[in-house]
Symmetry: C2
Subunit: 343 residues, 2 copies
DNA sequence: TCCAGGTCTGAAAACGATTTCTTGCTTTTC
DNA sequence: GAAAAGCAAGAAATCGTTTTCAGACCTGGA
């Protein structure tokens, strides 16, 4: 049934050790190596990875833990990881943690028990995600998109603050003056950084345009809503914003799903671009189809994954180098229409 | 470092065999079992899955091969698989084959070499996907969404023909008379079945309404376009349809991505509902936001995955029963507006 | 001629679990 | 009371590799 290294050895008239050496680049005379190789193909031999992992204490699989498999941001990232991994014949195991720390912990345990070669993790929680077990067992880890608190691993991040700043600025340039912000959960590094970028942009704009007195209201408490990075949360928060005595005329949404929720709320209220401005931090697939049209900040999701996987592979192959933090830039994608709110 | 079964045995003053029995439900006296258990938790012991797999020749991991990780249909399916798998402590490994038979073959080989407990596969190709290697090694397999030719495995399918029939009929009911069809690649079971359903509905309608002479044109060759199940293909095909001397007034798109492409082409041509009817076979996430609005056939993607995983688990635990084919029903989701093309 | 230094090879010991086999005890049964 | 049966527990074999170790063989220099 399953042909083993012994079967090949017997067929080729050599010892199992020699067969192993042929497959792992040991020193074997050309003539014998040839005999082994033909015997192997003849028998359809493929080395048993489980046995190999047990012996070498290392599998040729890396784990990728993401919080939401249905979010296109993470699936694009997964593609990047996969493409990078293929280069060194690593295979990728995708685990969906569902933003749930308990589920995440279970997957991390599996990663250890399966002796995976390494793990790339987009942490479910900044403070409660615990990578120490992996670190103490010397398993290579790269954190991506979100920086877990207090762990000493390589990190690949998006330049959230800068991207949010540019995006907010863009809303001002388009002529909107009564901005609001829809950010993610308090405590998540991504939502805090994006909110910080929003605030910076508003302050800068107010400083440079002292006559625009109302712009500063964008910093007021009631204009800044914390939601949960999901469609439903964005929807509810947007409704609250619209119910304000002085509702905003544009909104900066800190991720794509909340932007979708906001668009729904706007549609229900009969509002649309260009009268109302919407900026989504993160692409909405098929955004051109979406009504009302909106501008988006394109996130380097694929590259995020690709870079993380490359870093991880360096660690796996034993590269001793200082911890690295890579920050990738975003890209503003303005909607085609140039008309502002007044038009 | 890694605590093994031996460490636990020594700490509890028993043999490794006993420890193993405690964890696998062998017969052990209560008093000893207790000693083992406390020792295990004290040492933080977790059995090494690799070693276990090597010995038992079976891993507690199942592989899920899907053709496109960025298609929400498949990610929803993945969730279903995962939820079902959790019930028996199986973990799921997601592999993205990218509609590429070579990539798929590589993943199937990995599944064998890693000795996974089983595989669920949405085949990249109906005829060229080859599951025989798995079958001959007695690895449990369930095919999902697409039925691979000539293999004897359990299958979980969508009732494509029936769903397409209902959907097409719905277009007629809304008042459209010049229908067209955008189907998938020739040779794919899903696209053929959906096309067949479309044809059945048209024929039925013509038979029941002999005065509607033009309706039969929906069966003409130029009204039926084969594309590739992707956005770009749908876009191109729709443009061709619109360029016909007698363009259609409604289109049945055989999957969600092509429907998106079609909507793009329509938007470019200045067409929208209700003047032009669009029916998407498969949900478009955030469809309510999409312009023009459209009706969709909701596919049981989650249940597809859940059912497949349940079936697979029965096979894994050795249930000997005849091969099964489960067909799940679709659900028509009409767009809210009731106005037809003439309105 | 002999020995040092190299290359190649096979035997055997890991890796960490499960499982068969055996042993020694206790309980039943006639 | 002795034979049969049942049960718990340990010793040891096993899964399929990799890798250490030691031996065999060859080459070249003194």
């Amino acid at each position: 049934m399953a042909t083993t290294i012994h079967d090949v050895a017997r067929a080729a008239g050599v010892s199992p050790a020699t067969v192993s050496r042929v497959f792992n680049g040991g020193r074997v005379t050309a003539e014998r190596a040839e005999r082994v190789r033909t015997a192997a193909t003849e028998l359809g031999f493929a080395p048993n990875r489980v046995a190999r992992s047990l012996r070498t204490q290392r599998a040729s699989v890396i784990g990728l833990l993401i919080p939401d498999i249905e979010n296109p941001f993470f699936t694009a990232m997964a593609r990047g990881v996969e493409d990078a991994a293929q280069q060194t014949n690593l295979s990728v195991v995708l685990c969906n943690t569902d933003e749930d720390v308990a589920k995440e912990r279970r997957y991390l345990e599996i990663a250890l028990a399966e002796q995976m070669a390494g793990v790339i993790v987009a942490a479910a929680s900044r403070s409660r995600t615990d990578l120490s077990a992996l670190e103490s067992r010397k398993m290579p880890v790269v954190a991506v998109d979100r920086r877990p608190r207090g762990s000493t691993v390589d990190v690949v991040l998006v330049d959230n603050a800068h991207g949010a700043e540019e995006a907010t600025w863009h809303l001002f340039e388009r002529g909107y003056r009564r901005l609001a912000c829809l950010t993610g959960p308090e405590g998540a590094s991504t939502s805090e950084e994006r909110l910080a970028g929003y605030r910076t942009a508003v302050r800068d704009f107010v400083r440079e345009n002292p006559t625009e007195t109302r712009a500063a209201e964008a910093l007021r408490e009631e204009r800044i809503r914390y939601a949960d990075f999901r469609v439903e949360g964005g929807h509810r928060a947007m409704r609250e914003l619209l119910a304000l005595p002085e509702p905003p005329d544009a909104v900066f949404a800190a991720n794509n799903l909340m932007a979708v929720g906001a668009l729904q709320a706007l549609a229900e209220a009969g509002l649309a671009a260009p009268g109302f401005g919407v900026l989504s931090f993160g692409e909405i697939p098929w955004a051109p189809l979406v009504r009302p049209s909106l501008s988006t900040v394109r996130l380097p999701s694929y590259d995020l994954g690709f870079t993380a996987a490359t870093l991880l592979q360096e660690r796996i192959s034993g590269g001793e180098r200082p911890l690295q933090t890579v920050v990738l830039r975003t890209e503003l994608h303005a909607r085609e229409s140039t008309a502002g709110p007044g038009a």
